[in-house]
Amino acid sequence: MPRWGMVIDLDKCTGCQACTVACKEENNVPHGSPEEQKRAREIYWHKVIAVTQGKYPRVHTELIPMPCMHCDQAPCVTVCPAKATYRREDGIIVQDFRRCIGCKYCMVACPYGARSFNNKEQEKKAYHRQDSPPDRSVWGQWPFPTRTHGVVEKCTFCFHRIDQGLKEGKKIGKEVVPACVEDCPAMARSFGDLDDASSEVSRLLSSRSWIRLREDLDTKCKVYYLLK
């Protein structure tokens, strides 16, 4: 069984935020507004944070792209009462919007702030992908629906692409990758099977020093960062 993970090379990353925009584009993630940003209500499945250390002129700002970390020991999975968020066999932490009751326990538990609460019915946009079932009566995991208000949403590692790719016999990590990985102009992001020694992610993790965020919480997250 593959164990999907992501490697983000902060040395190659140019801080352009194409990943954030591509994710919104791919998954019909709603955009915010000035008021919503002031009230911390904008929805981001992927965000880029800036962390500054030091004083002029010895200042350093790290720009860190943060998708959902899809932790192997995810705090959010532990706390979801309705099994709306759970770990798939292949390591992807699923967010089943049908099951979600909107208790927001997972948002409280997530140490990475990866989750957003959908607190209003979002506007339908002309550029929303229609090739998804907007009909909420369809059962099963949705690829990339538009979500109702009252549920929590988060990055899905574009599992719809992965599942489709696997069915078509494509190589995940080479031919099929999440939108943020595909649309990174610097090609700073890699995606693949962490347990496959021949994958690009394994190669990167064995050849460079890496860190994960919040190691102190031992979430065993699967998004790794290569430093400058």
């Binding site: 090379d9 040395d11 500054t52 610097a186």
Partner: protein, 763 residues
Amino acid sequence: MDRRTFLKLSALTGAALGLNRVVSPSSAMSSSAPLQIKPQKMTEVKWINTSCLNCSARCAIRVRVINGQAVKITGNPLSLTSEGKVCPRAHIGLQVLYDSERIGFPLKRRNREKGKGIDPEWVPISWDQALTEMANRLKSLREAAQAHKLLLLYGLNTRSAEDIISRFAEAFGTPNLISGNGLDEESEKSGNWMADGHYESCAYDLDRTQYLLLFGADLLESGKPLSRFLRKWGKLRREKPNRAKMIMIHPRYSVTAAKSDEWIPIHPGTDAALAMAIANVIIAEDLYDKNFVHHWTAGFDLYKKLVLGHYSPRAVSEITGIPYETIHRIAMEFAQVKPAIALRGRGAINWPEGSYTSYAIFCLNALVGSIDLPGGIIYQENPRYKNLPPFAEDPIVRKGKVQPFLDFRGTEKFFNAKVVTNQVPESISKNIPYPIEMAMGFHCNFNMSAPGAGRWDEALKKIPYYVHISPFVSEMALYADLILPSTTYLEEWGYDHSPPGSGFAEARIKQPVVKPYGEAKSSIDILFSLAKRMGGGVERSFGHMGEDSEGFVKHRTSTLMPWKEFLAKGVWIDPKYNYKKYDRIFNTPSKKFEFFSGNLRSLLIKMGRRPKEDLHYLPHYEEANFLGEKERYPFILHPYQPLMTLENGSQNYPWAQEIFLPMHGIGWANLVEINSETARRLKLKDGEEVWVESPFGKIKARVKFSEGLHPQVVAIACGQGHYSYGRWQREIGVNPNGLIGVDFDRISGQAAFFNTRVKIYKT
């Protein structure tokens, strides 16, 4: 109960990604395919190749269209300039296309009064009415032999539209064709020209570079072509055996500085001194590329004498504020790590002394032999489109050719300039060299993007008849008598090629991915229609090159490749690039790279001027001329352009707005960024509202304490402060360009952006 139905997928060929297919129930051509769909729904999915126009890079893109709606934009993998990658703005194109506040019909102004905050009372009229009105006015202008009093302004348009606009200008008989280039990087071009005779920006062979010395060059934010820099940055860092090193010399700790290996804050306006000091070290340590310098350059002795005599690192350290050791070390690295490139950005050269600064920095490349080499500066090849047929000359046209230019290009005032965009408002207001009767603006918004924006407001008020062509009512359109709704780049035909660049030539198609919004027409189609209505020489000049935009594009690109193939592939590339063309690449009197500018000397002689000193023909540092006295205005304003600023004149795009300033983690705003120590001495509180005042205006915004700014610099991001339209941009942020005084680099006509002083105080 519906279970997932798996879709039959057609086999893909890797390259043939532009094919349009209509299949049922649905199929996907790429990995981003759906899993579930209602079987009875007929879905048409296509990928269409075109190119972007949210900035001047014009990257090749593919757009996924489902049932006539564009839903995804990504790069065209066949494009080599950026290896098929695009920047975030390309994706935001979806919001540009589906901006709900676009205009779909021509709008005629009813309220004669013009000004900020005054309602124009737009009345929709038909295209027929609009074009007839315009044609009549144009014809009468021509008939009165006043054709030169037509002013054509253009901002960001396709190359194809630019060609047509310029054809219209020529055929009509007006010399007054003003692009926005004078706000951009004309001083880079003139600096290059002084050295090698190419009045053009540099292209860089980035695959093999080992060292980038960036002088005020925000490569990862406003460099062009941006997508190329983003891709190559990643490549240079970790896709080569040896990681390339990037050094950023800049008053502001930008994203590019944060991603570079070293940020060296410099006193604004002193980059030329630093460049000369670096040259000093390189020459003094005997590390320059002797082969190249001795065989392919001229004027080295004079240059060497100047450099060694006046630009010791210790002296320059005083001027720039950079420690002597740093200057020395950087110079040694630059000379010894090969190939190395010294790059200039707007921050260093959009100054009144910009041409010389540009020249000084450019010369560093020659010093280390990085000219036309793998990993160095290269010269951009452009696609050889089919020549336009000769246009019809008539007496009006001939008269127009000899009229003085409205922007005083090539005159005493701006003797080497090709366009002096920001001179236009003064010329119009003062009726010099003659009054303007009519103007047309194509996708420009100089009221926002030019220094001293208020002057454009006044000038446009003065023009008796102004027609503005754009998809939305921009700040400039507020002064129009007539607005024609144009298509966005996703709805029109065109051809485009990147600004320098990749060196090798690459052309990109533009084809409509969706039907145009409302009754919008492309600029090219508008001009073809207008030409037909005008008849006579103008109409003839528009003949034999396709009857409309599609025909024109097809005609012009017929020399490149077969039409169907071009549409299917989206790009045409001639990847061959010949390096080391030293015997033919230098357009200078000596036919070599000149440290002593023979071109400039010849030009001045031709103009009847002859400054005595050699210094005028050598790269050198001149103390910056600041606007505003230091005692009253202690700080230097640094307006910068973040990546999320779109260059189409609007910022009404939530995806760009919500993440506008990544270094500060906020959007929907811009900030007055100031060094934290300086701010504390001013007794300011982080986040409080302050006034920023220059001798020319004042604005109010929130202050942000920053560790990443030179202590005397105040930085404000451009792109906000719109007021004419847009739910997502109106009343958001401020426009720092309103504070900037009007100043020019006299050699190139480049508007100066960074030499205005300001003061800050609490509200």
